[in-house]
């Protein structure tokens, strides 16, 4: 996701839009100041805001087109729907935490671990590709890897004499899906953390050592506090990323795993909940959770900007 504020290393251009307050030529009528933005905002209103608003509106609509809270209550009480939210939240939590941890370690290894520089370029390019490699092809890749006839599955069987399916193990559950999601989750973490780690100045470490600090002191009192907002911010981003994913889960396990997105998809294809309002309420819940995520992300991003430039 292109969410991170670009961390500028180049000198800023002297004339910058932000630097100078707008000085629209006086003689021009005000509509001319807007004309370039009209198509953009018109598009946003018709294809982003109106549909979103209609979801909110219809969440409170009963099948008889009257006002009701039933749909909202249902997503907290109806078992099917509660389970869908639980499954979605679990996958998102697992992959956000796992992706953040491993992504951070990998970014750290590549940026500060003293590895050859060429590896670093390779790793960032590859992370760019891998974080984009989601959806149907990713599901196929993992079916070929850990599916019933996958490479790893067969290898475990032939080399170790271990048939993982006898233990009742299946990859078509939340854990299997988490392994798949991790493939695009932790490269995203690498992409966003790499510039942040670059922002750790060597002088800080030197200053810490001069004052008699150990590696522990450096991490506890300097590096971690500086990195924490971007670490948490990116983890939230990963959470939202997994929460909204549909294609990967659909192609990987069909409707085995009852995620919120899968349920909404099924609701679109045929009214499986037998109540259009419920679908809207499900969607509304997603928008709310994603909205909280983005708000948290934006807030943390501002805190990051304070230290890392």
């Amino acid at each position: 996701m292109a969410l991170e504020r670009p961390i500028r290393t180049d000198p800023l251009p002297i004339t910058q839009g932000d630097a100078q307050p707008a000085r629209p030529p006086r003689g021009l009528s005000s509509w001319k100041n807007w004309i370039g933005l009209v198509p953009f905002f018109a598009f946003a209103i018709f294809f982003l805001f109106l549909p979103s608003f209609s979801i909110v509106y219809r969440s409170f609509e009963s099948p008889q087109h009257t006002f009701t809270f039933d749909n909202i209550i249902a997503i907290f009480t109806e078992r099917n729907l509660v389970n869908a939210y639980k499954a979605s939240l679990t996958v998102s939590l697992i992959t956000a935490a796992g992706g953040a941890l491993f992504g951070f370690l990998l970014a750290y290894a590549v940026i500060l671990g003293g590895l050859p520089r060429s590896l670093r370029t390779f790793m960032t390019t590859f992370s760019g590709v891998a974080s984009n490699f989601a959806g149907v092809p990713l599901a196929f890749a993992f079916i070929a890897t850990i599916g019933n006839a996958g490479l790893i599955t067969r290898w475990l069987e032939s080399a170790m004499g271990f048939d993982i399916h006898q233990t009742g193990f299946t990859i078509y559950n939340i854990w299997g899906l988490s392994i798949v999601y991790m493939y695009f989750q932790f490269p995203l973490m690498v992409l966003i953390m790499a510039p942040a780690l670059d922002g750790l100045r060597r002088e800080w470490r030197e200053a810490c050592e001069n004052l008699g600090g150990t590696a522990f002191h450096y991490w506890r009192f300097i590096a971690l506090p500086v990195l924490l907002p971007s670490l948490l911010g990116t983890a939230i981003l990963l959470f939202g990323n997994a929460f909204g994913a549909y294609a990967t889960a659909y192609a990987f396990s069909g409707s085995f795993i009852n995620l919120v997105t899968i349920l909404i998809g099924a609701q679109i294809q045929g009214d499986v909940l037998y109540n259009p309002g419920l679908g809207n309420a499900l969607a509304l819940g997603m928008v709310m959770i994603m909205g909280f995520c983005m708000a948290g992300y934006a807030w943390l991003q501002q805190r990051t900007a304070r230290w890392i430039r």
């Binding site: 292109a2 969410l3 991170e4 251009p13 002297i14 004339t15 910058q16 839009g17 100078q20 707008a22 807007w34 370039g36 933005l37 198509p39 946003a44 018709f46 294809f47 982003l48 109106l50 549909p51 979103s52 209609s54 979801i55 003293g114 590895l115 590896l119 390019t125 590859f126 590709v129 974080s131 984009n132 490699f133 989601a134 149907v136 092809p137 990713l138 196929f140 890749a141 070929a144 890897t145 996958g150 490479l151 999601y181 991790m182 695009f184 932790f186 590696a215 929460f243 909204g244 994913a245 549909y246 294609a247 659909y250 192609a251 997105t261 679109i268 969607a283 994603m290 909205g291 983005m294």
Partner: protein, 261 residues
């Protein structure tokens, strides 16, 4: 201290590389197993010979071109205007471009179908909703690319110079701004291409033929061709990102990050 850290760095790197490459190798190996007992490219032959492949792939290319045209037409003037005349609106425009992260594709499709599936405005049955969805999906990447490009050039001076030479606004955009934004625009274009080419959610739920739903369909029908198609899709993504990296070499801040679908 430094040495020991380096050993750990290598361990983590190797783990990371294994995680990256094992699925790719497995996919490739799987795609070669179409004929029992030996490795062949039969799955690829089957995949490419299927007339439905050509048709769906062609459709996806068409959606790509349309999406890129609409996205450019919306984003470039908006980003330019924000830079030149209404910097105060920058946060609003940025907020709009980030909306796709708040409203997931499934949810947006749901909203679009409900809103435009019944009068007063009926758009179901025309590809407008599909393209609109794709454009929304491309907004963050397109806007960020163009914005980074605009930051790197002196928009105001260029515009004033063009105006003083008697150029109209169309000329300014097409013959002054666009050429200066070449790299930024191309990276936005290729990123959009990479995203739209394999997109599944919008095309599938809006029932339009495209490469993504086709892959999924084949996945349910055949055993080895899906993996061949997955590698084709991976190659497309790799190619697009590679081109962006190559174009943007030496230009910092052109990092491209996309999200899950």
């Amino acid at each position: 201290m430094r040495r020991r850290a380096s050993v750990w760095a290598w361990v983590i790197l190797v783990l990371g590389l294994l995680y990256f490459f094992i699925p790719l190798i497995a996919t490739f190996e799987f795609s070669l197993r179409a004929i029992k007992g030996r490795y062949t490219f039969e799955a690829y032959r089957l995949a490419f010979m299927d007339p439905a492949f050509v048709r769906n792939f062609g459709y996806s290319l068409m959606w790509c071109v349309l999406t890129i045209i609409v996205s450019l037409a919306l984003v470039v003037p908006a980003a330019y205007w924000v830079h030149l005349r209404l910097p105060r609106l920058r946060p609003v425009v940025e907020f709009v471009t980030l909306m796709p992260f708040v409203v997931p594709a499934v949810v947006l499709t749901f909203g679009l179908i409900r809103l435009y599936g019944s009068p007063p405005i009926v758009l179901i049955g025309s590809p407008v909703l599909l393209i609109a969805g794709y454009v929304v999906l491309s907004l963050p990447y397109m806007y960020r690319s163009v914005d980074t490009g605009l930051r790197a050039i002196d928009v105001r001076t260029l515009t004033e110079a063009a105006l003083s030479l008697g150029a109209g606004w169309g000329t300014i955009l097409l013959r002054v701004i666009f050429p200066n934004l070449r790299v930024a625009l191309l990276s936005g274009i290729f990123l959009t291409f990479a995203i739209v080419m394999g997109e599944f959610t919008f095309a599938s739920l809006l029932s339009w033929p495209a490469f993504g739903p086709y892959m999924e369909e084949i996945g349910a029908m055949r055993a080895y061709t899906p993996q061949a198609l997955a590698l084709v899709s991976f190659a497309l993504t790799w190619g697009s990102i590679g081109i962006i990296q190559w174009l943007g070499r030496g230009a910092p801040g052109q990092g491209q990050i996309a999200g899950a679908r």
